[in-house]
Structures are given as structure tokens and as C-alpha cells.
Symmetry: C2
């Protein structure tokens, strides 16, 4: 008989662990590599090229929120980290940490989201791990996903490729994910429901890169938002970045919620957006490629890279002034992803 | 000024996160791939062969124990999972989950262990992630490590390679890790200190495989111990396994502690041992190779694979009887790794 809650025994490595794996986890991610249940997965390496490798742990609270849950967030998050390296994902690992007493129905729901997210992204889950810890040692469920992918020959993305004059493109609206999570956590109801934007971006990135050269760097603005990503790139590339407030796309409901919460959408986490640094002559083409994809319909040019003010980000405000967009200080939104 | 404890802000993705990464984490694992701090690591793929990919989360309690801590355990554990696939590790990811208020001195100590363990194993940490959760949402520190490696052309290890007549070889004493952890947790003092056997086995596996063919399958008996591993292999390979109790090497102090704790060393976790299934004609050679390595000095032949009793493990007891070694039922040792 299937238990209703997770027991410590499900993490023992013995019979109950095996049943949990075979009855819940394997059916969600079924594929021949995972089904071997070895100490690790072994797959054919695509010939040539380079490997991308990424890891992320998801501790979001609450675990279910409008537009997603910790499961699809964990799949999409690592797929996106690989995509930002320009990589085609080859496979994911899923490592679950479960609290004793966690409802099996919730685990099934989360595994179902992960299954659908992995299928949509076209990335198999090929290895995994499950730990169960006593009540109180973890809050419900944390998920680590890691991923491997291949980077096509000749593709170079990174801060060392960014040049003064490059255009800064944002693939869509700011802050949906962070506000969706906060609205549930803080018990704030908005007139229109704000949904997380969690989605896998590998397909959109492939289309953008297939259209031709000129993309110099990609980042997904998750924790810390677009403001943090721009600051990191400015520091790493040794350039200045200048953006225009009026061009930053924000859903009005999200803007209103941020006002209410005393936060700025530029620092709020996104889970289905990217920031692209693009050679000036390629900017229009990249924008068109992004807008032709369902996840990039609202893509906009938001700014430029400049040689001056290395390591700093400036914003031209709506009223015509200029302000520094600093790196976030102080914990603004804990457990947002 | 460096804070004495981890603050929520260290997980925000902003300035404090960056300082924590730059001042504590990068120095521990310094290498040019990690220092890029991209969304993932990108490395050259070795030409040909296959890729191995593995993940494991470490939730051990206590985090410091005789012979090691959660840090070296996390490095060695994933290196060993790769080694059991026959892979040469290429790189590790390190994903930390920290509880708000965790002492920075403890984190430094753990990162130091990880650094030394990674150096000893010869495997760089090339990507990572750090999350901080509020007090009570996680017990002190959990660590996920994932790893990638290359499997040499032509090498085939796995349950499908195991044949009746194969010999079962154990690389050393049973149960040291589990008893070392339990002794601290339960506050039991033994006459002689029992130390965890946590160690990376990739060097020993390379030597064993370099000596010639005949190794059919490797597993490291961690959670659930040797008893669980043998049962899993018997099930996956569709064979019976017969071992001899008198040949199982157990440190007398560990045997005594297991008596006291009401547990059986065959089910107790090891973190620096392997079980090898080897063609009969290669068994002596493999044993010699293992014994020539510092981590395999006590390697012994403990049993054979048979065609009968598929899926079952039998033990010839010291007094001449035969008993079934069943898969573990019931959570014997939570948070052992």
C-alpha cells in the first residue's frame, strides 16, 4: 500500500527507497539511461565541441505558486543556465531533499510538473538522488538540479566578448516570478493574478543563435533581477551599461505590486527571461528572432554598453534624469527560487 | 568586515552573495573555469568516449565527525559515484544550502576540507550555487555535489555484464563511516576511536582498470551498505549472490559498536570502499591491483555470483549455516551521508 506521507525509511537506501524510486520517480522521468539506476548516468558524448555544466538548488517558499511550482522551476532553471552558456542541454540530474511527513500527493504533483517541464524543454532527467531528513531538518522539499550540455563549435559567449556599443536586449516583462511568489507568501491578493514566468528558454536561444552571429553574452536575470545581472556583466566585462527606464517592460499589475511591496521590478527575480548583449549591427535581427518566439514576444532594446564608467550601470529615468542602478544590498526577497 | 555568521543577505544574489563567493568560495576552489562565475561552466570535451554524470546531496548529522566532515564527504561521494561508472572525473559542482546564522568559521572549515579532498582526488570544482534560507528551514548546512567524467572507449561496466561464476571482491573493512557518524551522534565513546573511511576512490579504480579486463561492475556501498548493494546487483543482473561471513572484513571496534547499536555492519554505510564483480580468471589480478593501492590494502574475495536464486543474496554464516541477506527494511541510520 502506498503511504500518504514520506517516511524516513524512504531515504534509507533500502526497500522503501527503492519503491519510492520505482513507483514515483522513474515513471515521471522514464528513459533507459535513468532506469539503469547506476551510481551515475553514462551517455554518448557528442563528437567535438565543448561541455557546459551547471547546478542550482531550489528552496522556493511557497512550493506551489501561480504559474508554477518548485518542480518546473527547478527543471527550467537549470535548462536556462545551460542555455545562457549557449549549450544544447543533454541531460539533467534531479536531487530531492524531502522532509519526513511530506505529503506524497504533493511530491507526485511536483514530479508531474518536472516531467512536463522536462518534456517541453526536450531534456531528459538521466540521474538523481533522494534524501529524506527528519521533521524540522528541512522545510518540506528542496530540489537541486544540475545539467550538462554541448556548446556548438565556434560559439563564444561571455563577458570577454562584450564590447562598447553593444546593445542590451531584454526578452520580456520584468519581475513576474518574484511577485507571483511574494503575493502568495505575503497573502496579498491583486486584482489580476500575477503568474510566474517560469519557462525553459533553450528553444528560444537556439533560434536566436541560429539566425546568425553577433550575440556576445546571455544571462538569465533570476535572483537579484535585471539590476544585478547588468552590474555583474559591467564588472566582469569592465564596461559601463546605460539603460532607459521607459523601455523596461513591466506588467502594470507587477509594477503596482512592487510599489505596494516597496521593491523595484529591476531587482525582482524572473524565471523565463534573458538579457542579451548583442553587436550593434545584429541587434535588429536578434530582436526579430526573439519576437518570433512565444517566449520573446515582448523583447525590447533597453540600452547600450559604453566604454566609460566601467563596472557601473546607469538608468535614464522617465523624467529625464540619470540614476545609478547599484548592485542589490540587503536581502530583498529570500527563498524566491 | 567579515561577518561571523551567515546572513540571509548572503543568498540574495546581490553584493553580499558576491562577497561570500569571492572571499570564501572562490579561494577554496580557485581555477579559471570557476572564476568566470557564469551561469554554468564550459570546458573542452575530451574527444570520443562517453560521458558520466552523477549527483548526490549530503545531509549528514553531525556535520563534523571523526575522520571527516560534510565537505570532504560531499566531494569524495560524487567522485566515487563517477569512478563506479568507470569514469575519469572532469569536474564537480558544489551547491550549498546554508541556514541563516550558520557560523562562517564552520563554513570555512568545510570549504577547506572540500578543497583538500578535491585536490587529493585531482578533480576541479568548476561550477556552483549558494542558497541561504531562514533559521529553521534547513539544519545548518546541506551540500549537493554533481560531477561529470569521461568513460574510456570500450569500457563496459554494469549489471548486464555480470555473469554466473563472477567473483565478488570487497576493497576493505565494512561500516567505518556509519559507525563513526553514529558514535558522535549518539554520544557513544568507544575504547578506540572509529574514523570515517571517507576517501576518493578514482585513483584506485583507474589502477584496477588499467591492469586489464575482467571487471564487470563496480558499486560503492554507501547508504544501506554492502547488503543493499549486493541485493541491487542481484536484482538488476538477474543472478544470485553468495558471500561468506568469515571473509567479510570488519574492524573489531566497529563490530563491537554494531553489536551495541543493534545493527549489522553489512548494512552500515561506507564512504571509501567498493564492491567489484570480476570475471573468475581476473579475480586474483584485480585483488593484487587493489591491495597495491593504499585504499585497498584490505581487499578480499568475499563471494561468487550464481545462476540460481536470481535476485537473492545468501550468506554462509561462520557456524556453517546459510541465511538470506535481505534488502534493508526500516530506516536504520538516518542522515548518515
Amino acid at each position: 500500500m502506498k503511504p500518504k506521507t514520506i517516511l524516513l525509511d524512504h531515504g534509507s537506501g533500502g526497500k522503501a527507497s527503492r519503491r519510492l524510486t520505482e513507483e514515483l520517480i522513474l515513471p515521471a522521468f522514464h528513459n533507459p539511461v535513468l532506469a539503469r539506476l547506476g551510481d551515475g548516468a553514462v551517455i554518448e558524448a557528442p563528437p567535438g565541441g565543448r561541455l557546459a555544466f551547471s547546478t542550482d538548488t531550489f528552496v522556493v517558499d511557497p512550493i506551489f505558486f501561480p504559474g508554477g511550482d518548485i518542480g518546473d522551476l527547478a527543471v527550467n532553471g537549470t535548462v536556462n543556465d545551460l542555455a545562457m552558456c549557449g549549450a544544447r542541454p543533454l541531460g539533467l540530474s534531479v536531487a530531492l531533499i524531502l522532509e519526513e511527513g511530506f505529503p506524497v500527493a504533493d511530491l507526485e504533483r511536483i514530479l508531474g510538473s518536472m516531467k512536463r517541464a522536462a518534456a517541453r524543454a526536450g531534456v531528459p532527467v538521466i540521474t538523481g538522488d533522494t534524501k529524506v531528513v527528519p521533521r524540522g531538518a528541512v522545510d518540506k522539499i528542496f530540489i537541486n538540479t544540475s545539467g550538462i550540455g554541448t556548446v556548438p563549435e565556434g560559439l563564444c559567449l561571455g563577458p570577454e566578448c562584450v564590447r562598447p556599443g553593444d546593445r542590451v536586449i531584454l526578452s520580456g516583462n520584468l519581475g513576474d516570478h518574484g511577485v507571483a511568489v511574494l503575493s502568495v507568501r505575503e497573502g496579498i491578493a491583486f486584482a489580476s493574478e500575477i503568474r510566474s514566468d517560469t519557462v525553459a528558454l533553450n528553444g528560444m536561444v537556439e533560434r536566436m543563435l541560429a539566425e546568425g552571429p553577433g550575440v556576445r553574452m546571455l544571462r538569465d536575470p533570476t535572483r537579484g533581477g535585471v539590476g544585478t545581472v547588468l552590474n555583474e556583466v559591467a564588472l566582469q566585462a569592465g564596461v559601463g551599461v546605460r539603460i532607459r527606464e521607459r523601455d523596461l517592460p513591466v506588467n502594470p499589475a507587477v509594477a503596482g505590486a512592487c510599489d505596494l511591496l516597496g521593491t523595484d521590478p529591476i531587482y525582482v527575480a524572473n524565471e523565463g527571461k534573458l538579457v542579451a548583449f548583442v553587436a550593434p549591427e545584429s541587434a535588429e535581427r536578434v530582436l526579430r528572432a526573439l519576437r518570433s518566439h512565444e517566449h520573446g514576444r515582448n523583447a525590447v532594446l533597453v540600452g547600450e554598453v559604453e566604454a566609460e564608467n566601467a563596472g557601473r550601470v546607469f538608468m535614464q529615468t522617465r523624467i529625464g534624469g540619470t540614476r545609478i542602478v547599484d548592485m542589490l544590498t540587503g536581502e530583498q526577497l529570500p527563498r524566491i527560487c
